[in-house]
């Protein structure tokens, strides 16, 4: 049966709280009622509220309509509610169109007569297009109650334990010999007197002992297949043995890389990196001495030569400056472009540090360094001293200069993105989906990300991300079943030229080219039935129905099930 063979259209007119009353007079209603296939036309004051929609459901279940056209405002106002109404009124949720006469007519056409004519045309064409609608079915599949976390740093540990605590079995994969990562290098927290090491040991122990967590150390991810709810991860251990780990979803917590600054004078032994500084402060009682045993008196932190828009170095410098001042009586300078105080409690810390005698110097032009009698001399133009006429108005001699390491995207991200089939932008950090789904979700279903692989952030913020990613996974797994509409793209293999355009443009890795087709565009006749030709195929579990492939297919072999070309041309009046 073709969809237009039987066609009963119920039209609901939304007055949009009176905003459309000048268009929707008695004549218009009669016009709509008289359109072909329209079986009913009812008016409502405001259809955007959910109670009104319930009334609409009741009316629909009684009537004989098999499709619905709403005349009113933007489709976005009605779509979500209608999908639910459709289900209860045993009407397919996709048998529904909206004639938007608010944005498309009322708001843009001031002339009353013209507006009415235009509104009529919009409604008539929408009603006509409604005839081309076909029902879209749902599919569902089971979701395992297992998840995988990749990365054994502090973020991976937090994500894994959060999932495990919510009764989800987790496999934590790390290529390192043991879990730990960069956070282990920190000596203290910036916002509380506790030592990081004891806190961190507790976290590590917690995740290791958790009955729901399985640790896989010293393994590399080699392959990834399957779909949301049942992904298979191929891992390889040091001896080259391969195993398969299953998971319904995955949290990527693979972190970032650091590039130490050792070029030119920065290679001198009096320049140290922030982790080296942290290590020196790990032992509170130990005096600070240089390699000759002479006490270290002046320490300078030089910030913002790299990582200008990352808060980590600044937070650690403030914290360590205070420790150096308080526990070791050092003279401390922090030389930076901007003091980054946009962390909870940091402004107070910064002030306290200044009150204790730590000197903050801000620059616009990077400072110059030289060696003077074995010490490091730094010359800088201080922006707030307002002195004129001198090129360098401050010079500081220090025993130690802490110079930041540059934070960069992990060099393994391209490989990881390739294995997982997720796009990688040019800065190299893993890319989130549309920001509306917030930053923790990749644009492949069931792939989440947190922490430094997305962007380096201070510990506190990154841990929140880990929990949010865990929340995303828990959400998916809590249903046990994944139900989705087949509102996806569909490829007619007979028209496919296997040109590989669509798999390249697909942002969701949802198209594969496989030998499955009876024929493709090259086959003109006389082919063997047993032979399967190569053609592109959409994996409906992965497809978001965005339509990018439809627009780029040179042979027009692809259709979007929920927005066909026929419907579009009917609506445009073609």
């Amino acid at each position: 049966m073709r969809s237009s063979d039987v066609c009963h259209i119920a039209v609901f007119v939304d007055q949009c709280k009176g905003a459309l009353s000048h268009l929707l007079d008695e004549e218009m209603i009669q016009y709509i009622s008289g359109l072909p296939h329209v079986v009913s036309c009812s008016q409502d004051e405001d259809l955007s509220s959910s109670q009104r929609f319930e009334k609409l459901t009741r009316r629909l279940s009684r009537g004989r309509a098999d499709r619905v056209v709403i005349v009113g405002g933007s489709p976005r106002v009605y779509e979500g509610s209608f999908r639910r109404v459709g289900v209860t009124a045993s009407l397919n949720p996709y048998m529904f169109l909206v004639a938007n006469i608010r944005e498309q007519v009322a708001w843009v056409t001031p002339d009353a007569e013209k507006a009415k004519d235009k509104a009529k045309a919009v409604v008539a064409k929408t009603v006509q297009a409604a005839r081309s609608l076909t029902p879209i079915e749902q599919e569902k599949f089971e979701i395992l109650k297992e998840a995988v976390v990749i990365g054994g740093g502090v973020v991976g540990i937090r994500a894994a334990s959060a999932l495990a605590d919510a009764n989800i079995r987790v496999t934590l994969l790390t290529r390192a010999k043991d879990i730990g990562g960069k956070a282990i290098q920190l000596s203290h927290f910036y916002d509380r007197p506790d030592e990081v090491s004891s806190w961190f040991a507790k976290q590590v122990e917690g995740v290791k002992k958790h009955p729901n967590v399985k640790l896989e150390t010293s393994v590399e991810l080699k392959g990834f297949e399957g779909h949301l709810g049942n992904y298979r991860f191929h891992i390889e251990d040091l001896l080259g043995r391969r195993r398969v780990v299953k998971g319904a979803a995955v949290v990527l917590a693979t972190g970032y890389d650091v590039v130490p600054n050792t070029e030119g004078i920065f290679g001198h032994k009096r320049f140290i990196s922030p982790p080296q500084m942290e290590a020196m402060l790990q032992d509170v009682g130990k005096p600070l001495v240089d390699e000759k045993g002479k006490p270290i008196q002046t320490v300078t932190f030089i910030l913002d030569l790299v990582n200008q828009t990352i808060k980590i170095d600044s937070a650690n410098a403030v914290k360590n400056a205070m420790l150096l001042r308080k526990d070791h009586g050092c003279t401390v300078y922090v030389v930076c472009r901007d003091v980054k105080v946009s962390l909870d409690g940091m402004e107070k810390q910064y002030r306290k540090t200044r009150e204790m005698g730590v000197i903050f110097i801000k620059y616009d032009d990077p400072p110059k360094f030289s060696l003077v009698n074995g010490q490091i001399n730094l010359e800088v133009k201080e922006v707030s001293t307002q002195m004129r006429g001198e090129e360098y108005n401050l010079s500081i001699l220090s025993d130690l200069v802490v110079v930041s390491e540059e934070f960069v995207a992990s060099k393994d991200n391209p490989l990881l993105a390739d294995i997982l089939g997720i796009p990688l932008p040019k800065e190299g950090y893993l890319m989130e989906d549309n920001p509306q789904f917030t930053q923790i979700r990749a644009n492949r279903r069931g792939v989440f990300m947190a922490g430094g692989c997305r962007y380096p952030q201070p510990l506190e913020e990154t841990l929140v991300e880990a929990e949010a990613a865990a929340s995303g996974v828990t959400e998916l797994l809590s249903r046990g079943m994944y139900v989705y509409d087949l509102a996806v793209a569909e490829i007619d293999p007979a028209k496919c030229a296997a040109c590989l355009t669509c798999p390249r443009v697909c942002p969701h890795s949802a198209i594969v080219v496989e030998g499955y087709a009876e024929k493709n565009i090259y086959v003109t006749g006389g082919y063997e039935k047993e032979f399967k030709w190569r053609a592109a195929r959409v994996l409906p579990t992965q497809c978001y129905g965005c339509g990018v492939c439809v627009g780029s297919c040179p042979t027009k072999a692809i259709t979007l099930k929920h927005l066909t070309d026929t419907e579009i041309s009917l609506r445009l009046g073609g």
Binding site: N167, Q308, K340, S342, S384, Q386, T438, A468, L477
Partner: protein, 342 residues
């Protein structure tokens, strides 16, 4: 585990997101909102796109509000105030008052997402807010852009040719005891400048700041593009005072020019104050009602996890929309764990 119900206090972006997240995990929630509508402070923001999206997240808020209205498992009780908390951990009873009627709601866990107030710019009279018509706050500007789609001078409706943005109004300020950074205002103002300059490249903008505070991943490219724009002047100096004029609506202000080190005076058509975030006026009342500890700044600190009371969003300290949403998701997950997992 059939009667797991979470009471969310505050229907801003934090409360809404947490409610939606809980709904996805099969947990019912009730959002109690003081105002007559949900959405909170973030719901009045305007889109700040220039030639491309500047990731201000204003559209996301509208989306989330709509999503809530479609869910039956997220109940909204708007126009209500909290009266009393009784019951014990896991079986809370909360007395609320709406339209003069008292009702009691039961909850297995509580999520406090009461957010923040914006700083009242009148408390810095030297900037002339409420005195000069053409001194407005960033929130006023947002509303202007949201409702009218363009920037103009309130005094005469004309397009300004020079706009000054003052940062840290009500933040990082010892004179009013606000020793915290509101985190979002630098990015917020820079996005405004991008959007305004995109709409009208004739308008010159100046940005007066102490330190530029980065915010998230997209900040680097935003800042870089601002630095390269010749019509955007980033000036590391905070003006001391805004001077009006007896006969005209023009504004003059005095600040130290960081390049020359001299005190200069410059005229502007419109001054936008980037007002910071402060703890809610009724923060103390809610804190004592639920026994939530506070930090030195007056924002909330998380109570112990087994208390059954959770926090989310800017009530813990200033936050932008995306980090509030992430925080809300994390809070929802903690609640799920507390209620026994899935």
């Amino acid at each position: 585990m059939t009667d797991r119900n979470v009471l969310i206090i505050g229907g801003g972006i934090a409360g809404i997101t947490a409610g939606l997240e809980l709904a996805e995990m099969g947990i019912n929630s009730t959002i109690v909102e003081k105002e007559n509508h949900i959405g909170g402070q973030a719901s009045v923001f305007s889109c700040k796109a220039s030639e491309k999206c500047n990731k201000c997240f204003a559209c996301v808020v509208d989306n989330q509000i709509q999503e809530v209205s479609r869910r039956s498992t997220v109940r909204v009780v708007a126009g209500s105030t909290l009266k009393q908390l009784s019951g014990e951990r896991g079986r809370f009873k909360v007395q609320i008052q709406s339209n003069g009627n008292d009702t009691q709601l039961k909850a297995s866990a509580l999520l406090v997402a009461t957010g923040v107030d914006f700083f009242d710019a009148r408390r810095k009279p030297e900037y002339g807010y409420g005195i000069f018509q053409n001194v407005i706050t960033a929130q006023d500007l947002d509303e202007m852009l949201r409702s009218e789609g363009r920037v103009y001078r309130p005094s005469d409706g004309q397009v300004p040719s020079k706009i000054a943005f003052f940062q840290c109004v009500g933040s990082r300020d010892e004179t009013i005891g606000h020793l915290w950074c509101s985190k979002v205002c630098c990015t917020y103002a820079l996005r405004f400048m991008k959007a305004i300059r995109h709409q009208n490249p004739e308008i010159q903008t100046s940005f007066f700041y102490i330190d530029i505070q980065p915010l998230g991943r997209s900040f680097e490219s935003l800042l870089e593009s601002c630095r390269q724009d010749e019509g955007m002047h980033l000036i590391r100096s905070l003006p001391s005072k805004v001077y009006g004029h007896r006969t005209s609506t023009d504004l003059r202000m005095r600040f130290i020019d960081p390049l020359s080190g001299e005190i200069v005076e410059e005229g502007f058509d419109l001054v936008v104050l980037s007002i910071g975030m402060t703890p809610r006026q009724d923060a103390d009342r809610i804190a004592s009602l639920f026994q939530i500890p506070k930090n030195e700044e007056g924002f909330y600190r998380s109570p112990l996890e087994d208390s059954g009371i959770f926090l989310s969003g800017a009530c813990k300290g200033p936050r932008d929309i995306p980090s509030t949403m992430i925080d809300a998701k994390a809070a929802a997950h903690r609640i799920v764990k507390y209620l026994g997992g899935i």
